[in-house]
Assembly symmetry: D2
C-alpha cells in the first residue's frame, strides 16, 4: 500500500516513520520543503496509485479547510481522504460533503499518543462508512500499537464519530491531569509530613487504583525535577478541551471536573485575575478589609 | 438597660456606638486600654447591674475560648453571655456547657453588616432559649436596622443555631461575590464591545433580577476606580467560608458554587500553582509541549 | 411618541401596558390575533408615524430572525428597530447589517425584570449608535423604573453590547440563585438545629451583606411553602446561561460558579445520571462495592 | 516471619492469603469466629513470637481506636503495630502516642488495590521510623506486586505519612473516576453519532494518553452491561474523599476536580435536591416560570 501524507510536523513526521517501518509506502508533503518528499500537492497526487488514499495531518480549522478544499479539486472519484488532525467533529460534515460532490470518500480519524506514538503506536478512533474504514485498515494497523486491534482502534460510527470520540478523549485527559495535579499539590503542601513526594507517585505505579500512563509520565517528570522548580505553572489549552465544554452545554451534560480543568488552565495564564480584583474590591467596601494595592 | 461589651475592635466599637445611640448603656472593655472604658474584666463586671448581660466580640477561636473561660469564673448564676463573634457553631456547645456549670446563660449571635452596621444597623441571627433571647431583645433591637424586627433578626433555634446561620450566610456571601466577579471579568474581557463596564453595573441597581447590596458596593468600588487598577486580585478568606465547606461535606450537601468561591481565593494568593506546574510537566512529557521555565 | 411592538407575550404585553401608562403610544402586533392590536405587520407599519420605531419582543433565534427579515422588507430608510428579546449578541451583528442595507437603524436592548417589570419597571442595557439611542430614550424612560436613569439604564456600547450585557446579567443571575440555593440546603439539612429556616432568610433582608431582590423572592417563596414541599427540584435553563459559558470559554474567562449553576440544573433534570452509573460500575469493579441495581 | 492480623474482612482475608502464599506466617483474628484462626486477641498475642508484629485491618474510626487501645494493654515493649486500615492520618498521631507509652512501635500503612490485590498485589504507602519500616519489610514485600519495590511501595515519611498519602490517593481516585464518567456521558448522550460507546473505551487501552487501570475496569463493566442498564447511578463515598477536601481547605489547596467528584456523589444519592427546589422556586417567583409540582 502506498499513501499520501500531507503535513509533516511533529505528529505527521512520526506517523510517516512508523508507517514506513510497518511496510506502508508514504509520500509526504509539507509546506516546509526541506522536510517534504515532494514539491507540491500536485506532485503528491501524481505519485500515488489510484484509487488514492491521502492522510491529512495539518492544524485544525483554516489550514485543514484549505487543504480539504484543494484536495476536492485535484482528487478523483473513488479516492479517499482521511483527516487525522484535531478537527472539530462538526467540520467533518462539511469536509465530507465537499469531497462527496466529486465522489471522493472521507474518514475522520482521532489520533492519540503524542510524541510517544512513533515507538508505542497511536490510539485511533475513526468515523466513516464500513467499506472505507475496511479499505484503510492496513494504514490503521500500521499506526496503532501492537496487540489486539480493538484495544487501540475503534470504528466509532459514521463520519464525525472519530473526531467526536477524540474530543471526548481529550476532555477526559484534561480532567485526569487536573486530578493528579490536585493530588500533587496536596502532597507538596505537606512536605513537612510527606518527605518523599516523588517516591509516593513512583510507588503508585503497581497495584494501586490510580495507576495509569499519565501517572508514569508524572513519575518521569518528578525524576527529572523533583520539586518542579524549573517549570512554570502556565498551561495552554487547545481547541478540543474547549469544544468538549461546548458539546456538554449543547447536550446538557454536566462536566464539573472537565470544566474545572479548563478553568484552572485559564487562571494559570493570568498575571492578575479581574474577577479576584472585583472580590477584593467588594471585601474592601463592606468590611473595610485591607487590600493589596497594585503598584 | 446596661450591658458589658468585651472587644472594641472595628465591629465592637461600632456596636457600642450604635447601642448607646439607641439608649442602651454600654461599658466596654478592650485589651487596648486606650479605647477601653474599664481597666479589666473585673472592673467591667463590677460596673454592671445584676443579673448581668455581657456581649463578647473578640476573635473566634482561642481568644473567645479564653474570654469565655474567664467569664465562667467571674460571672454569677443568672448572668447571660452573648457571643457575637464569628465563632464556629460547634464552639457554642462547649462554651454554653462551661458557663452552665455555674448557672450562667448563653446565647450565640451571628452579626452581619460590616463597617456599615453603625449607620445601617446589623443583621442578627441568634441561638438560645426563648426566655434568654426575650431578655436580650432590647440589645438586639438596639443593634438591628429600623423596620420590622423579623426582617433583620431571627431566633434561629437553640444554642449554636445563630452561628450556624451566620456561617451559612457567609458561605452564601462568598458565592455571591464570586458570581458578580465572574460577570465583571466577562464584561471587562470584552471592553472592545462593552465600552462602559462600570455603567453596566450601575444600571443593574433598579429593575433587574441581580440587584443587591453587594452590587451597590461594586458600583461604589468601580466609581472610585473604574478599572480596579489600584487593587490586587489577592483575596483572603476567613474561617466561616471554610467551615461552610466542612459542614457541607459532613452533611453530604453539594456546594459547587461556594467551594468555587473559596478555591478561587486560594488560587488568588498563590505566586505559582504547584498543581499547574504538574499539569505543565505532564503536557511536556506526553506532547513535547514547550513549557515556560521558571527563571 | 408612538411606536410599534411586535410580540405580546408575557413580557411584551407588560411592556405595552407600562409604556402606555407612561404616555407612549403603542400599537402592538402578535400572531395571536386575540391579543393583537392589528391584523398583521403591514397594518402595524401603516399605523406608525415615520420615521418609525418598532420594538421586537419575540423568542430569540429563528422567530426573531424571521421578524427582522420581514421588517427589512417593509421598513424604510430612517426607521429604527429595537430587538428587546433575549437574542444572542452575535445575532445582532447580522440583524443590524441586514437592516442597514435599506437604511434602517438598529438597537439591541437587554431587558431584565421578569413579571415584576410592569409595576417595578424594567432594567435596560442597550447597544447602538449614540444618536439612535438618544432618539429612543423616551421609550427607554417609559420602561425603566423610577429613579436616576443611570441606575436602571445603560448605553453599554455599540450594537451587540446590550445583549452581551444582558447575557452576563443572566449568567450572574444563575450563579446568585445557586448561591442562595446551596445555603438553603445547608440550613434545611440541619433542621434539627435551625428550627426556623424561613425565618433565617427573612431576617437577612435588612442589614446583612447578602440582602438582595432574589433573597426577597426566596422569602416570598418560603412564606408560601415553608419546606418547598409543593415544588420539584427540576430546573430548566435558557440560552443566555449557556451562551455565557461559551463566551467564557472563547475568552478564557474562568467561570466556576456560573458553570456550577448550569451543571446543577442539568443534573436536576436527569432521571438517572449516566456519569454516576459509570462511577458506580467502576466502584463495583475495583472494590466489589455493592451497587444498587436498576429495577 | 510470623505476624498477627486483626480483621479478616474482604481486604484482610485477601491479605492473609497473599502473605501466606508468599511465605509469611499469619495468625488471623476476626470477631467473626467462623473465619478467625484464634478465639481472641489474647490467644493471637500468645501465638506470636516476640517481638511481635500485629497488622490491624479493621474499619477506621471507633473500631480501630478500640483495637489499638486493647493492643496497648496486651503488647510489650519492642512489639510493632501496623494500622493498614483507612484511618485518618491524624488518628495515627494519637495511636502511636498511646502505644509509645508502653514502648510499642507504630507504622501507618495505606493499602490500595481493592479486591484485585490478592492476585495483583497491593500498593503500599507507609509512615514510621526507618528502622521499624525496615523490620516490617518482609511483610510489605509479601503484600505488594511483583516488580521493583519502589514502584509499589514507598516509605513516605514519619508516622501519619502513609495514611496521608493514601488519603490523597483516594482523592485522586475519585476525580479520575469522575473524569471517565463525564466522558462516558458525553459519548452516551450522542449515541446517534457514537454507535459503539463500549468500543471507544476499549480502543483507548493501548496507545492513548488516557489509558489506565480504571479505564480497563470500565471496559470490563461495559463488556458486562454495554449500556449500564442494570446499575443505578447511586454512589456512596467514604471517609477518605471527604478528608481530602478538609485537608485541602486546611492547607488552602484548590481542589475543584476532586470536590466536583464528591459533590456529584452527594447529588447521586438525593431523591430530590433541596437546592434545586429553591432555584425552581426563585425562577417561579421572578419569571412566572412554570414549576413541576411534587405530587
Amino acid at each position: 500500500m502506498h499513501i499520501g501524507l500531507i503535513g509533516l510536523g511533529k505528529m505527521g513526521a512520526n506517523m510517516r516513520d512508523r508507517l514506513r517501518a510497518n511496510g506502508i509506502g508514504v509520500t509526504g508533503y509539507d509546506r516546509n520543503l526541506e522536510i517534504s518528499d515532494v514539491a507540491g500537492i500536485g506532485e503528491l497526487i501524481a505519485a500515488l496509485p489510484a484509487p488514492r488514499l491521502v492522510w491529512v495531518m495539518v492544524p485544525a480549522g483554516a489550514v485543514t479547510d484549505a487543504v480539504i478544499a484543494e484536495l476536492a479539486t485535484v482528487l478523483s472519484a473513488g479516492d479517499l481522504v482521511i483527516d487525522g488532525g484535531n478537527s472539530r467533529y462538526t467540520d467533518d460534515f462539511s469536509h465530507s460533503a465537499l469531497l462527496a460532490t466529486t465522489g471522493v470518500h472521507y474518514i475522520d480519524a482521532g489520533v492519540s499518543g503524542g510524541v510517544w506514538g512513533l515507538t508505542n503506536g497511536f490510539g485511533l478512533m475513526v468515523g466513516g462508512s464500513a467499506d472505507q474504514v475496511e479499505r484503510a485498515m492496513p494504514v490503521f494497523d500500521g499506526l496503532r500499537p501492537e496487540g489486539p486491534r480493538e484495544e487501540s482502534f475503534v470504528h466509532a460510527g459514521a463520519v464525525g464519530a472519530g473526531h467526536y470520540a477524540k474530543m471526548v478523549h481529550n476532555g477526559i485527559e484534561y480532567a485526569l491531569m487536573q486530578s493528579y495535579a490536585e493530588g500533587y499539590e496536596l502532597l507538596e503542601k505537606r512536605s513537612d509530613l510527606i518527605t518523599n513526594v516523588p517516591g509516593v507517585f513512583k510507588a503508585w505505579q503497581r497495584g494501586t487504583v490510580v495507576r495509569s500512563w499519565l501517572l508514569e509520565l508524572l513519575v518521569r517528570a518528578l525524576a527529572e525535577d523533583p520539586e518542579l522548580q524549573n517549570i512554570d505553572g502556565f498551561v495552554e489549552d487547545s481547541g478540543e478541551g474547549r469544544w468538549t465544554i461546548e458539546e456538554a452545554i449543547d447536550n446538557a451534560v454536566p462536566v464539573p471536573a472537565i470544566s474545572a480543568a479548563i478553568f484552572a488552565r485559564f487562571v494559570s495564564r493570568q498575571d492578575d485575575s479581574p474577577a479576584m480584583k472585583a472580590v477584593a474590591a467588594l471585601r474592601n467596601q463592606f468590611g473595610g478589609h485591607a487590600v493589596k494595592t497594585a503598584d
